[in-house]
Chain length 344, copies 2
């Protein structure tokens, strides 16, 4: 089924409200989910609404608490997300960073007591829209083994950086593993082998069996390099926030306890370093230089980080968002008890 962005967002917002979440939080979460749909990251889009609401219904995520600042200096802030829906604390943190960076040049926020926040690029693009360089990462339950280990220790922790430009912002949003866990789940469903280099089995041996990989661990990019990057994210999100590193967190799909996730976000104000127009023009000039490079074998175009997302968003804003039947059924079921009807 195909929906307009506005209609689908409004439906999600009403569903979240109906589940007892307060107005501003419902708007934030609906906007974040639809932004993921627009930018082509549907794995973090409306298909997540069901699990978010299930956790709210079970009392594992608070429906009424607001994030609050625990500690503050001119360019640093610690935020207790108060177990609100992940997007609520992360958005509040980035808004705070942007406001303070405008005064001092940059600001970073450590967020604890939070939950799954969707796609990290949602928050870094907030900064880019304000002519700042946005930085965001979060930790998640452990899936990646440190280089040399046979057990997971770090989450598939996303790292996002967004950079303003005169045309399409440069938006990096990556996990430090070679592939996301979803690729192993899909291969297992399809009965296919996975390539060597994606995962290790429980003994720390390379495996082509997706089930063995799921029971084992994901391999970081570049061996010790991706492993080190993931470890730094764990330090920032798990230790500096007080939230705890990945192995101490709770899974989004298990109902034993609040997730207790930590985020680390920041904004660097371009205007503290140079003329904003010159910076934006410089990034656009770099983009053009890269687009003009000779292409590698098998590539019809060199894509910069964020370019695919921007195109997806332009297309879907015009033509609507296609949602698979299964997800539509889920969405409809979430609204039905409250008399809400999902309409295309």
């Amino acid at each position: 089924m195909r929906f307009s962005h506005a209609d689908l967002k409004e439906y999600c917002r009403r569903v979240i409200l109906a589940h007892g979440v307060y107005e501003e939080a419902a708007e934030t979460v609906a906007d974040m989910l639809l932004d993921a749909e627009l930018t082509g990251v549907s794995s973090h889009g409306v298909s997540r609404l069901a699990i978010y609401m299930e956790r709210v219904d079970k009392g594992l995520v608070s429906k009424d608490s607001c994030p609050r600042i625990l500690r503050e200096s001119p360019s640093a802030v610690v935020i207790d997300a108060a177990n609100s829906l992940g997007a609520v604390g992360a958005k509040f943190a980035m808004e705070t960073c942007i406001r303070k960076a405008r005064e001092t040049g940059c600001c970073f926020a450590a967020v604890n007591n939070s939950n799954h926040f969707g796609a990290a690029a949602y928050y870094t693009r907030m900064a880019a829209r304000e002519n700042m360089i946005g930085f965001c990462c979060t930790n998640l339950t452990a899936k990646i083994a440190p280089y040399g280990a046979a057990e997971p220790f770090m989450g598939t922790d996303p790292i996002s950086v967004a950079v303003p430009s005169d045309d399409c912002p440069v938006v990096l949003d990556m996990t430090p593993s070679v592939v996301a866990l979803g690729k192993l789940i899909l291969a297992q469903k399809l009965g296919k082998e996975i390539p060597v280099g994606w995962a290790l089995d429980q003994e720390g041996r390379p495996t082509t069996d997706p089930a063995a990989g799921r029971a084992g661990s994901l391999i970081p990019i570049g061996g010790p390099k991706g492993s080190g990057l993931a470890l730094i994210v764990e330090v920032l999100c798990g230790i500096l926030t007080g939230a705890g590193t990945a192995t101490h967190l709770h899974d989004l799909y298990k109902f034993d306890a609040p997730q207790g996730v930590g985020h680390f976000l920041g904004a660097i104000d371009v205007s503290a370093f140079m003329d904003v127009e010159a910076f934006r023009a410089g990034v656009s000039a770099m983009r053009k230089e890269i687009k003009d490079l000779r292409r590698a074998e098998g590539f019809s175009e060199v894509l910069l980080p964020g370019e695919r997302s921007a195109r997806s968003a332009a297309g879907k804003a015009a033509e609507g968002i296609e949602v698979p039947e299964l997800v539509c059924a889920e969405l409809a079921a979430l609204g039905k008890p409250f008399g809400l009807t999902l309409r295309t």
Copy 2:
């Protein structure tokens, strides 16, 4: 030949002074080179003294100019390195960040008009010693092709992050390419093939020929992920500093112009976020958890970033630094015209 750390540093310092560089700069560069030797990164150690001095002698690096602050806000600073030896501007930048971060919680510095600064970890460890999380990157002449391109655009730009702890600090220092260019140079010298996945030839095809790889480009870790990371470093070091991105820089080993390199450094003060003792204990506890993980096939130990360097430094401080004959001859030649003698 084997030298004590103090003797070798003093010899380097005297050589730099003899070449007309001022006292404080000579001390900084000698300390940085010896730190690289101690931490086992001899590719960035005393073997670089000859090229540094050659550039000074040719007037391509200034022997007497001091870095100066061009623009300053509470948590951001822009520094003109004034074409001084790279370590001089980078050290000044990190000292400035540390001083300002103590007031505001964090500070970042954009440095332009600089030169090759050695190992990035030298600067991030300065922050870690002050109970701050240090961040440092620099750009270099273009060697890495963006994902999908057949020509280099980004340098093998190092990214370093250092984290204080109760025992060994966590120190990441990585380039976003699968291997450093040095590995291709070595393979070519030895007449060996390189594995697929290290480099592309000039047409952007995977190659096993080190010469073709050197003429082509290095492959980033994780495809679009490492490519994106390198691109962000180019934005920070090349655009936000005003220095220019990699393809606009000049090579350390060519004598056509000053290098014009940019650096981007920062310090995040742990005490702005939480109790420093608790943070340091938390990082050490994480280290212990990781050391206790089951090991992957073929590994006798799980090493954290920075652990090998710390062990090397402890060993070499006690037993001395071994320098290959060829490098000793180079070092001796640098001092000879000034009546300086290299002694073990």
